[in-house]
């Protein structure tokens, strides 16, 4: 585990010693702040439902900015040669990096808590629904990051990594909408099950379903395992 921790610490140092982290957090907070104010003033209802929905889509474009550099930057700086020749197993590199990116996500999520202050001061929101929304948001973010990290391992160009990740995430987000065009029940279920947004919708409504939790965790696990296997195969 010490290898994972060393990679994690290095990742966190790299985030905060470059402008990326500050920039991503700032843009994310600006965006979510705008969604929050817009929804509150437009609907006049003191909930986070609409805000979470907007934050979810926003995440499809923000997480690739965090994940695109995870491996691409290592390839282009030739530091992958160091990582792969140090006493580290590929899964340790993958997990350390993922935990670093997940910490960034948690930090961003925690920072959106500032929106809750006026909500609780001037309204009467349902705490359990908000908590469930946040759980869903974090799980959704983790799944997006794991996929982004996998695509980052496939290319040494960060822009290409982001350009692969964004359409894949948006595709998985909107694939739920294809459901209504299907006559076959099996296909409807399938498109519903692989949709990032439909599972997230449950959390926003206050439903913490084990099926949805398992879905996001399975996406993470598949992406991280493929990521490790790819690094091993690259040798």
């Amino acid at each position: 585990m010490s290898g994972v921790l060393a990679i994690y610490r290095k990742e966190m140092l790299s985030y905060f010693r470059s402008p990326i982290a500050y920039f991503v957090v700032a843009v994310f907070l600006l965006g979510t702040g705008y969604f929050f104010l817009y929804n509150i003033f437009m609907t006049g209802v003191g909930t986070m439902d609409e805000t979470f929905q907007s934050m979810g889509i926003f995440l499809m474009t923000v997480t690739p900015v965090i994940s695109m550099r995870l491996f691409s930057a290592e390839y282009s700086a030739k530091t992958m040669e160091l990582l792969m020749t140090l006493p580290l197993r590929p899964w340790q590199i993958v997990l350390g990096k993922f935990l670093g990116a997940a910490s960034m996500l948690l930090l961003m999520t925690a920072a959106t808590g500032v929106n809750l202050i006026p909500l609780y001061l001037y309204g009467n929101p349902e705490t359990k629904t908000i908590l469930s929304g946040y759980i869903g948001f974090i799980l959704l973010g983790l799944a997006c990051l794991s996929l982004g990290q996998l695509f980052s391992a496939l290319t040494q160009n960060q822009i290409v990594a982001a350009l692969i990740t964004v359409p894949v995430l948006l595709g998985l987000w909107f694939v739920g909408h294809v459901q209504s065009f299907q006559n076959s029940y099996a296909l409807r279920d399938f498109f519903g099950y692989i949709s990032l947004s439909l599972h997230f919708g449950d959390f926003i409504r206050g439903l913490v379903r084990s099926e949805a939790i398992v879905y996001y965790l399975v996406v993470c696990a598949i992406a991280l395992v493929l990521n490790s296997a790819y690094l091993q195969w690259r040798r």
Partner: protein, 322 residues
Amino acid sequence: MHPAVQLNSVSKRYGSRPIVHDLSFTVERNEIVGFLGPNGAGKTTTMRMIAGFTTASAGQVLVCGFDMATQNHEAARKLGYLPEQPPLYDTLEVSQYLRFVAAVKGLQKSEIPRELDRVMSACRLETVVRREIYKLSKGYRQRVGLAQALLGSPDVLLLDEPTAGLDPGQIQETREVIRSFGAQHAVLLSTHILPEVTMICQRVAIINNGRLLAIDSPASLQQASEDSNNVALEVTAPAAELEQELRSLTGVLAVSTHPVPARPGVLRVACHVDGGEGAEARIARAVASRWELHRLERQQPTLENIFLRYVAQGEAKGKGQQ
């Protein structure tokens, strides 16, 4: 005890393109081996296979007895590796970077500060400890790369062109670091700089087109090339007569003369002689008895000549096989 590095019939191909063919050699403990070859000879690929960055397509790479194909993790613990381009994280400070590598190498938290001091003083990095790596000059970057390889005193040190980009003073210091490290550990050092090999390596491996052409001590390689010695002289004499005289001497294989610029009448002569005894003495007697001899010296074959000869022989052999 296992050799520090052992290659058994190692080959590497990328797709259908062969890079390294059937390479076998060993590096013993407490030995510095120089790895010589022209660009594209397969040096970096071989280094990468030993370091575990790429796997061999065929054959076996053993580091301290651990098979790189199946015991990569154990072998990596025995290795310090400086790739051709130092693998550095530009946004980190030098000490943060070295601390990261030390932690991954499994050094105890309590021993890391001491170990950092040791490698930073060996590589003369004390003045840039707190500097971000992107602000460092090429020479310092190279030395930070060397410092990370030295961390944890690995049993085997692999250095791919460690003195590239350094100024003469830094080259001297780096050689000293490698020499002192090699007194107790195994070092495999790839380089283009031939005098470097003669200065610090106990043995030299010459490689071209992915094939090992020779491996021996620099002195033995030079000895083996004694038959291709040259004798150089400067004489005031008529060119045709001098050439005729020299060609008639026993042991002289070929003669070429060139006038010395700004010294009218003086010729610079290169005599290609065989390995027999007394060639210089015969030439000196013959020339001095008739003309004015200014200078005469037997030229030892330089490692450069030996290297070029082996490379040329290897290419000729390769063409013959085709």
